[in-house]
Symmetry: D2
Subunit: 339 residues, 4 copies
């Protein structure tokens, strides 16, 4: 960590600062510049709050050299994390495809979709029981009953299931769920993350619409700090000024996260674009640049398409996506070791 | 609501669509254009999910004419909402100043600050007990004990108190809190909002870092739909590409929200800028353009400034801000009726 | 175009509006809603300034149904545009790879790089002579002399050349340049675009850092409206809050632009990420989702790497990228006809 | 400037780097950390290209301590710059109000507006002759003839005039123009900025829609590096995800720029919001937080309002804004010396 002091700092305040820093077991290496004196801090700075230092009258600016995340940091854990889930895994040599309906509507619907996506090569089933909706007047999901239907589809197909938790009070219902999803709007629901850190379950965290990759890793760190190292990261589009797509899918997050962390990275092209025909090209691009998997919305009943989102694929369209992605996979990017 | 159809839509699908819309008690007014047919929908469209319509093969685009929020909409509730809080109010003729420490640290600290800000003219006391921190390794607040200290400061000064809830499980502790704050990161924690809609307490909702004004009103709508109309909106900076300030304070939100809604609007210049000396000019600007109040961080002990945020003011600096704001207030913007 | 009127519009103003619209040869189809009256306008609305309509007292909002671009619009020109350039082409069945140094430094440098990238399969040579630099104190390019060196490299290799124009006064020097590039910062330099519309040369327009895809097409429209239909679009990253990469590469622009327009689309992963090792995965992703080509920075002298940008590849690294991209290309996304 | 080296850097490359830095007359102060070695560079680093350093294999990151702008930097020029313009000035004790039509349409129009805004207290007249329009099919301004009409209005009223240049080739027509405006889309048209640095005229530079404050100052630096120190900065809204207003007016730019630079700062609420009724509250807020002036669009003929922008005020509405702003001004924020 580097502390840049203002010109001619008050000596008493400077001594206070030096004493405080030494108390934190940091050693201090000053450099006198023309305009500024710079203090290089050596030691474990991960607990130093950068904003607090900036508050000092004598401090011009503070810059971090080390990343504030530890457990998630590739520098301290070179090997890719592989997370076993039921009969499959996330990360490593498996390309995970998590497919299923946006909302669980009925046993018939979710089981039919589950069978279809399994036949096309999906490795896991997704389905929403608790639905975060912008409007209080919109359908909020089948909730507890939805979870039961999802587990029934798991029984019928053997596919492990991923579904979203919206509040801690729902956690007791997630016992047989294989992967618990934390939605983009809850990415910084720190109480929820902390509690999920005390479960042993794989946790899939979606990047918030306006969150940096570092913040995503800090949210992973909340779960990992509680002792649960089974964290999966998911990029699902960020908010920009562009309006032609719902969000802007940030695929450069894939190689950048691979460098920053050892955790697996999943791409959700359905939510990112909000447009069903764009799922295929963006899924192909995600596979090409080295993602560990995809999360894709699939609906089953074209006649009832009115009740499915603009971003969902039919099982036939999903099968087409799978074939296209499978053709890309043997040629996909692999990050070299030790980058 | 306007539905723009693709060129030469499939007739069967069009009939299905028409039947579905009529089922929703909407009447349909088509206009034939050169490239497109447009359907004007008349009736209550607030429950129609715009994404679902867009999903249809025959639909090119859908555009909303009516706002999706009702209870919060100025069009249906012309008069400003005034929310009584203890011996004061938010909205109407009172300019609310909610001041206090970022984190509650001790009884002495919070009571001393409370007395100081009251003397300078603050109408309410703020203080954080449950603290949302990006890093799991940072101080997370005194939690339940912090709330007790805040209530002690309320007893000593008579100032009503505002403090943040982070999870539903904490709600039982907020019984004597005057205003419950929902933080920016929880703006779309819909389960929390729903439950707060069943309390009678004033709820102050902070705008999320990447949320539109319409989404802020939809979050207000969640609380109001539960029967609690005491909602206060707070702008605290949005995330942009600019890095000189922590966030970008969107002051045009003040008049724009005044037009969209009857709910009171508070500005938080401390979090928006993240820089203590900028609080004064931005507080003055907020007062000038018609905000209903301010939320300002104040710390008390310059010698311990290391443990306060870069954005906090000393009581003396806060007093200076109050004088400057009070000089602006008689000349502040008032939105004309019926705009 | 749809005009949404305010409740109870002033009759005289409404009559004025109706007369004005009819003067523009638009026919008007009103729909009476509960809160609003809607006017559907049928006819050629591309010349109607949407802001002007919104200015009217009686107008609540205006929404476009037709796109404001015509020449660039896929709806009026279904076939992909293919632009012949020297012995190659951009668009159609050829995947263009435009490679070369950020700045032209010497004959030896540019010719050596040109030979190297040609050997690896580049179809065109790029090189900067006029350099837009944020700082007036940074190297501004060899300018006219740089162009001469670039043309010498063209003579030696036969590769057509692409280079950036920064001001109209430079145009006379671009006679033998094959493709003229308009940089991101000049994307809305309308005087420049207009004049380039009167040349017959292929014009490659880079998307501005904060410009929408529709605005990019409007800039293409400026060139095309002057009679020059040889426009190539280039996505090179947009500005967002993310700081881990220089910009955010918006790959969803590839399929979305393919739907909006018939013009070819090139991706520049070097500028988008600003990080050399990220060029490979992002180039692969761009190829996978259907881009018509790539623009990549290559430098030649590892010992002088200090004078090359953080985003440049060595010829060896470029060769590796080419092999990886070539492996992807046979499996790349092709937009179905008539989408 | 601080260079953060990777762990265990290659010794030969490190020696090359050290030699190169010393060649630039920088002295080097290393600090050995646990994970990284840090080099503190002392000397004039304004000409060092930070991207070039980052390109080195052995470099992890580079952080600037000193700002890259010099002439515009408040640290080297403590006093506010005051720019005399005709019978008035920009900066210092004068609050400048630059008002007039978006587009100059006729002598009658511009002269009538000029007289009206002068009567209400405007200090300068604005009017567009060369108009940057997104669409090639929209009105592009009266161009040279428009300038003549603007100068006629200057003769009739004595008001100094501000108008936009779009291309260097127009410069010869700007001889009698008092202040030359560089529009937001040309903020990084470096050839134009360089040439304007060789005129003696005051140059008003509008911040680009996606440009940081530091980049705005670098553009000012381009003009100042040419010897022209008469630069005025103008904030006119930045592009964010919010769609309720056209852009997001960044008023925190006012105090932040005051700290960074000695140049005067003008706010344009008309373009920022794009909504005429919002001009008043945002003008008041701009005055309150210490702006040096305003730029406001005014049209004159309510009957022809169809041809004026949604953001223009009538002369009566402008007069109302002036009164409101004048009431704020005596209480406005003044940045303390030496901040």
């Amino acid at each position: 960590m580097i502390v840049i002091l203002k010109k001619n700092p008050d000596e008493k305040q400077l001594n206070n600062l030096m004493a405080w820093l030494e108390n934190l077991n940091l050693s201090i290496h000053p450099t006198e510049g023309q305009m500024h004196t710079i203090l290089g801090l050596v030691g474990d700075t991960s607990a130093v709050d950068i904003d607090l230092l900036r508050a000092l009258d004598i401090v011009e600016d503070v810059k971090r050299v080390q990343e504030p995340y530890k457990s998630a940091n590739r520098k301290f854990h070179e090997e890719d994390t592989v997370i076993p889930v039921g009969n499959t895994q996330i990360g490593g040599d498996v390309f995970s495809v998590i497919a299923g309906p946006c909302s669980i509507e009925s046993e018939e619907q979710v089981c039919q979709i589950a069978k279809a996506v399994k036949a096309s090569g999906a490795t896991m089933l997704r389905g929403g029981a608790f639905k975060p909706r912008t409007s209080p007047y919109a359908f909020q999901g089948l909730r507890g009953h939805g979870l039961e239907l999802l587990l029934e589809a798991k029984r019928q197909t053997g596919l492990p299931v991923v579904t979203e938790i919206m509040d801690l009070s729902q956690l007791k219902l997630f016992d047989k769920v294989d992967v618990i999803q934390v939605g983009a709007r809850n990415m910084q629901n720190f109480e929820l993350l902390k509690e999920l850190g005390h479960t042993g379950k794989p946790i899939l965290i979606k990047r918030g619409l306006a969150n940096t990759l570092q913040e995503l890793l800090m949210s992973a760190e909340y779960v990992m700090a509680g002792g649960n190292e089974n964290v999966i990261l998911c990029e699902r589009g960020i908010r920009t000024f562009e309006t032609a797509t719902r969000n802007t899918l940030d695929l450069s997050a894939v190689p950048m996260l691979k460098k920053m962390t050892h955790l697996p990275i999943i791409i959700d092209p359905s939510h990112a674009t909000g447009i069903s025909w764009m799922v295929k090209p963006m899924a192909m691009a995600a596979a090409a640049c080295g993602a560990d998997g995809l999360m894709i919305e699939v609906h089953n009943d074209p006649k009832r398409a009115l009740c499915d989102g603009a971003q969902s694929l039919t099982p036939e369209a999903f099968d087409d996506v799978m074939q296209a992605v499978n053709a890309i996979l043997p040629h996909a990017y692999k990050m070299p070791k030790g980058m």
